[in-house]
Symmetry: C2
Subunit: 164 residues, 2 copies
């Protein structure tokens, strides 16, 4: 009995410390994915208008779907796009490299939950504080609107950057 | 006895098919790493002079050393730099994306074997055919020469592109 109480105490303590980690959550309820930085690479991209260098990473389900060109992607697929501001490499100025973290964006596939927006849930976290983007859940209209021209590719701009 | 012969036959057959896979080998003996495309991301980079978009990936030992800023890197660390030619995204021309695979380069840490070149073995494989670069093993002087200005960072230009 005593050991059960002790166990319960530790379980509560640990779940508490999970909350205490203060994961940012977008206005539509999508929380920052904790381990996205170690997901596999789908492709890099460079935005000269914003002077951002970017990578699109995917969780295992998304990488598999990318390699097999599966569209629409299966539920559970998640894509992350990380953007950094750029700098010229001090020792080699024709090379443009990441300077500061700018933002991370996610697209989360759930064909039922996010039916109204092509089966994709959108979320953006901005700056070093990872501030959730959007006043309310309607912010996704901006994302969805811009991704609608690529509806034929399941609303995805990016394809897998292949190697021989 | 018969089953031992059969086993030996299959072992030879399989090792044969490994050779048959025709892994390209650089003039200094470094072979293409088979699974490098799924290694974790260190950083993206954009070379406006060459019109290449690039990513630097690392094997687990290299990623660990990058995160901990360990210099010199430990033996066994391997970095891969993949370069693609670029195209404007047809639906969104301010976005520059990978077009065709251009080349992949490796730096392989072995402080004894590659002592003469800062502990790094260099290799480059070019184009869709992954043609090994260099007439003979001296090609590494070109690589090492260009990486010498960053000797203070263990001959590495790139640092880990961090997220908060
Ligand atoms: C102004 C147009 C525009 C808007 C608005 C926009 N995106 Fe995108 N998005 C793009 C483009 C273009 C790409 C291709 C990658 C690149 O070059 O940046 C992209 C790529 C992505 C990707 C990687 C998968 C893919 O489609 O390539 C994710 C994830 C993403 N956007 C999330 C979002 C989220 C979340 C929002 C809103 C909070 C959003 N986007 C709003 C234009 C837009
Ligand atoms: C003209 C200069 C130059 C030469 C020659 C050169 N490199 Fe590099 N290398 C760079 C720069 C600059 C970077 C930083 C990434 C970028 O922006 O391309 C780099 C990055 C790399 C990286 C990623 C790790 C790092 O240092 O950032 C590898 C691996 C690499 N080079 C391999 C090679 C190999 C192999 C050769 C020769 C066959 C070679 N390099 C020759 C300039 C050079």
């Amino acid at each position: 009995m005593k050991s059960a109480v002790v166990t319960l105490f530790f379980v509560l303590l640990m779940s508490g410390s999970v909350f205490a980690a203060d994961t940012p959550v977008a206005p539509n309820g999508i929380a920052l994915f904790k381990n996205y930085r170690s997901w596999q690479l789908i492709a890099p991209s460079y935005r000269e208008d914003k002077q951002h260098i970017r990578v699109i990473l995917g969780n295992p389900a998304a990488v598999r779907a990318m390699k097999n060109k599966t569209r629409p992607m299966p539920d559970g697929a998640v894509l992350a796009k990380i953007a950094w501001t750029v700098k010229k490499h001090p020792q080699f100025p024709v090379a443009t490299e990441p300077a500061e973290f700018a933002q991370v964006e996610f697209m989360v596939k759930d064909s039922v939950k996010y039916k109204a927006t092509g089966g994709w849930g959108f979320a953006r976290f901005v700056g070093p504080g990872l501030k959730p983007y959007g006043k309310n859940a309607d912010f996704v209209q901006e994302c969805f609107g811009c991704h609608t021209p690529v509806k034929g590719n399941d609303y995805l701009f990016t394809d897998y950057a292949a190697v021989p």
